[in-house]
Symmetry: C2
Amino acid sequence: MKVSSRGEYALRALIALGLQEGNVSTIADISGQTLVPVAYLEQILLQLKMLGYLKSKRGKNGGYMLAKAPDQIVIGDVIRSLEGPLAPMGCVSITSYEACPLEGTCLLKPFWALIRDSIAQLLDQTTLAHLIERKL
Amino acid sequence: MKVSSRGEYALRALIALGLQEGNVSTIADISGQTLVPVAYLEQILLQLKMLGYLKSKRGKNGGYMLAKAPDQIVIGDVIRSLEGPLAPMGCVSITSYEACPLEGTCLLKPFWALIRDSIAQLLDQTTLAHLIERKL
DNA sequence: GATTATGTTGACTAACATACTCAGGTATCG
DNA sequence: CGATACCTGAGTATGTTAGTCAACATAATC
Ligand code: FES
Ligand code: FES
């Protein structure tokens, strides 16, 4: 049930930018705060930009900043974009369902569904603002 | 947050054996019911045996059966044995803690802990008996 | 307008994990 | 004995992860 480094790093970066309140931060700055290697962080920030969470400014005095208010950034969406579906099995995924061969009689499916609901509820009701303000 | 095929197959096999109420089943039988390839299933059943969930009988009329009552087989334990810790990050794992570099100031850790608790509570309160009897 | 600080793009790689297969070996029953 | 099972260890194809790297594009400043 591990979260990959990519997802973890993306959230660290979002938090770092969320604490900047509108100021731009360079990749190097963010790398310093998050301890993510610069070259790898570039990739991740770029992806977050394409997903609409960040915007960037090029050239001197450039950098990244949030494109949305922290309370509009839902952690569940971020994780889904970076790591794929939250559901433990395709057959109980709402966002990307995939059939199982035994699905008709399967005694596991309701159980997976329970896990999915529990995880999704938690991740979808938490925003970046909640993390930053330590209000969980 | 996916569960691997190995974990899924192990649970399918345990369910199949749980439904047999003490009778032995051959690998081929179980393979037929679970749609898991015979050679792969062999590996998994062997592992489940070494973990103490199954016992086996060799030779003619041999096969596998449960080594414990279904209500003594906790799904969380099975998953942990086959897939590693339930926690999404090492720094919030109870069974196999691993330090994070940012741990002191990290705003994510409490959130991961919440996820861990939610998953662990669900998996550790469910037994094979619950799955078989459809009582979740 | 040259310099320099920044983000952008795309390819590339080493290491590991997953999902298996396969060729034998060994115990047990009849 | 010989058939029927489980047992053991190795091997392999494919994909994923966690990065690196070189070259490029753009914007501000001197
Ligand atoms: S796990 Fe998908 S149907 Fe059983
Ligand atoms: S995620 Fe482990 S300390 Fe932040």
